[in-house]
Amino acid sequence: MNLEMLMQDPALWGLGIATLAFAMLAVSVKNLVHAVLWLGMSLLGTAALFAKFDASFLAAIQVLLYVGGVVVLLIFGVMLTREHDNLAAFRTTRRPVRAALVAIALFVGLVHAILNTPGLGDPSAGKLVSMPDLGMSLLGPYAFAFEVLSLLLLAAMVGAVVLARKRDPGQPSAKKLIRHRNLGRQVVEGLAATDEVGQ
């Protein structure tokens, strides 16, 4: 493993370093709206890397789901949960030095593991996975996982609606409803008793 082999693909390195820089901005700028937008740029950079690997379907899904969905959802989240006094959500950080030390130690460990793994520097198998291959894989060996995934998405959607639903102030809570029902039953029983007495 020498430096020449590492530097043989400048486009890959350029995209990768841009993606990394965007991700670092996303986790460190003060304004949360800006952070979400930087995250979107980082996700776009990853989509470009996917396209560079000829994984065009994954690149399209990344743009559609992440940049189009997750980023918009996160911006909604920032807007809905901002503090009352300041307009944009500013954030504070905690223990940055210790966190940086942990991250750097983890990175050194990962680099050590990567450089000591045999076979990674080998030339690739040559056969790139095309979109038909991916489709056959999704509907062949992984068909069950694919179907379970659709159930998971449905469950997540229902769960989010149930969690975030704002209770209508005019609508009584379940406890109140039960109390009302019991009260109504007592009234009915009382009326029946007076009827019997009257007869």
């Binding site: 493993m1 991700a23 980082s42 994954l58 949960t81 520097g121 996975v129 998971l152 989010a160």
Partner: protein, 97 residues
């Protein structure tokens, strides 16, 4: 191949740094997204390197699961905001009011 693994591990470590430093719940979710993204990069890169469709299939599953996680996470963040008035994760220690 080494290049993409190095880039992905740097991305993952940026996510770890964000996860450890954020106080705002949405900031924590941004950091988690960065980490998931790094994992996806490794899956797709290694899959193409070995010529196996399993890498891209699993990356697709990961993306869908990450979207589900964001949806439920944001619902919980909204609930936290509604019950406490702020979303600072280390201030929220109790499960109920």
């Amino acid at each position: 191949m080494i290049a993409i693994l190095l880039i992905a591990s740097a991305l993952f470590c940026a996510g770890v740094f964000g996860l450890l430093t954020q106080k705002h719940a949405i900031g924590v979710m941004i950091a988690i997204e960065v980490m998931i993204n790094a994992a996806n990069l490794v899956l797709v890169g290694l899959g193409q390197h070995k010529g196996a469709a399993v890498g891209q299939s699993f990356a697709l599953f990961t993306i869908a699961i990450a979207v589900a996680e964001v949806v439920v996470g944001l619902a919980i963040v909204l609930l936290l905001y509604r019950s406490r008035g702020d979303v600072q994760v280390d201030e929220a220690r109790e499960m109920r009011q």
